[in-house]
C-alpha cells in the first residue's frame, strides 16, 4: 500500500511544500550538479513513475527499466529544464515517450485475455457490493489485497490508451488537462477515454466476478 499512498500523498504534499524544497527548486540544484537534490527527486517519484510505466507496459521489470531510463534523461537534461511547466508533467512526458516507443517496437506487447489473467480459480467475490454496503468502513487487510489483485487483472485487460488514462486519473490523481499535455491529446479525448475505461473496467470486473 506504501506505493499507492505515496503516489496520492505526493500531490497534496506538493502544494504544501516550501518553495526551496519544490520539484522545480530541486531541479535547479540538479542542473548545478547536486546529486543529493536528484536523490530527493528519485525518492519522491520512484513509485509513481514505475507505476506510470507499468500502466503502459504491463511488465514490472520493463517498467523499472523505463523508469530508470527516464530518471537518467532527467538528470542529463536538467540544465535544459525550464520551469514553465510543472516538473511532474515534464517527467511523465519523457516517460510516456519512452514507453510509447517501447510499445511501438512491439517487444513488450502482451495479449491478455481475462481467462488467462484470472487463472484456474477466479475469486468470484463481489467486492464492489461489499464496498457499497460497508459505507465508509475501510476494507480489511485481506479484502484490500484481494481488491488490489482483482483490479490489477482488470486494469491490465483494458486497451492501452484507456488503461494509461485511468491510472493517471485514479492512481496519480492528475487533472485531465495535465494528462492531455502529457499524452499530446485534447481534454475531450481524455474525457472520452476515461468514460470508456470505466465502462470496460466494470465489464472486466463482472467477468472476474467482482461485480454483478
Amino acid at each position: 500500500m506504501a506505493a499507492k499512498e505515496e503516489g496520492r500523498r505526493r500531490r497534496r504534499q506538493e502544494a504544501a511544500r516550501p518553495a526551496a524544497d519544490s520539484d522545480e527548486a530541486l531541479m535547479a540544484r540538479v542542473a548545478a550538479d547536486s546529486h543529493s537534490a536528484f536523490e530527493t527527486l528519485v525518492r519522491r517519484y520512484e513509485a509513481p513513475l514505475v507505476t506510470f510505466c507499468y500502466a503502459f507496459i504491463r511488465d514490472r521489470d520493463a517498467a523499472e527499466d523505463l523508469a530508470q531510463e527516464t530518471f537518467l534523461r532527467v538528470f542529463r537534461n536538467a540544465s535544459r529544464y525550464r520551469p514553465v511547466a510543472r516538473f511532474s508533467t515534464w517527467l511523465y512526458r519523457i516517460a510516456a515517450n519512452l514507453c510509447i516507443n517501447e510499445v511501438k517496437k512491439g517487444r513488450l506487447r502482451k495479449t491478455l485475455s481475462l481467462d488467462e489473467a484470472v487463472g484456474p480459480d477466479p475469486d468470484g467475490t463481489k467486492i464492489i457490493e461489499r464496498l457499497a454496503a460497508s459505507g465508509d468502513a475501510p476494507l480489511t487487510e485481506a479484502e484490500r489485497r484481494e481488491a488490489s489483485a482483482l483490479l490489477d487483472r482488470a486494469i491490465r485487460h483494458l486497451p492501452d490508451d484507456q488503461r494509461t488514462t485511468l491510472v493517471m486519473v485514479e492512481y496519480h490523481g492528475m487533472p485531465y488537462q495535465e494528462i492531455a499535455e502529457i499524452m499530446g491529446v485534447t481534454v475531450s479525448a481524455i474525457k472520452m477515454r476515461i468514460k470508456r475505461a470505466r465502462e470496460n473496467l466494470r465489464e472486466a470486473l463482472k467477468i472476474l466476478g467482482a461485480e454483478r
Binding site: A3, F38, E46, A147, L151, Y176
Partner: protein, 137 residues
C-alpha cells in the same frame, strides 16, 4: 449550455462529473438532473463506487534495489562528465603548449631563413676589392 440535459447527455458526462472535471455550470446542471433521475443517479453511484474501489489498487512498488541502481548510474555519469572535463582541460593545455612551441620554432625558423637570405645578398660587400685608382707619385 442550452436547455435541460437529457439522460444521454448526462450519461456521457458522469465520469467527468465524478472526477470534478466539468465546468461549474455543467456540474450544477448534472447535479440537478441527478436529483430527479433515478436511473442516472444509480449510474453515478456505480461510478463513484468504482472510484472508491480503485483506491485499493496499490500500483507498483519498485524493487528495493531500484533507487540504488538509478543513483549508481547517475554517479557513474557524473564521474564520466568529470573525466571528460579534466580530459578537455588537459587537452586544452597540451594544445596551448603545442601552439606556443610551434610558434616559437616557426619564428626561429623564419628568423634563420631571413638571416641566411640577407647573408646571401651581401657577399660583394664583404670581399676585398682591388684598388683601381691611378697612383699619383
Amino acid at each position: 449550455m442550452t436547455g435541460p440535459l437529457t439522460c444521454e447527455n448526462v450519461h456521457d458526462m458522469l465520469s467527468a462529473y465524478n472526477d470534478g472535471e466539468l465546468s461549474d455550470e455543467e456540474m450544477r446542471a448534472v447535479g440537478e438532473h441527478l436529483s430527479s433521475c433515478v436511473a442516472c443517479g444509480a449510474e453515478s453511484t456505480r461510478i463513484a463506487n468504482l472510484k472508491r474501489l480503485m483506491k485499493y489498487w496499490e500500483g507498483i512498488e519498485p524493487s528495493p534495489s531500484f533507487r540504488e541502481k538509478v543513483v549508481e548510474r547517475t554517479k557513474r555519469e557524473i564521474e564520466g562528465r568529470r573525466i571528460i572535463r579534466v580530459s578537455k582541460a588537459v587537452l586544452a593545455v597540451i594544445a596551448v603548449i603545442l601552439l606556443a612551441a610551434g610558434a616559437f620554432f616557426l619564428g626561429r625558423h623564419l628568423k634563420q631563413r631571413a638571416e641566411a637570405e640577407s647573408a646571401k645578398d651581401r657577399p660583394a660587400a664583404t670581399s676585398p676589392q682591388p684598388d683601381r685608382r691611378p697612383r699619383s707619385e
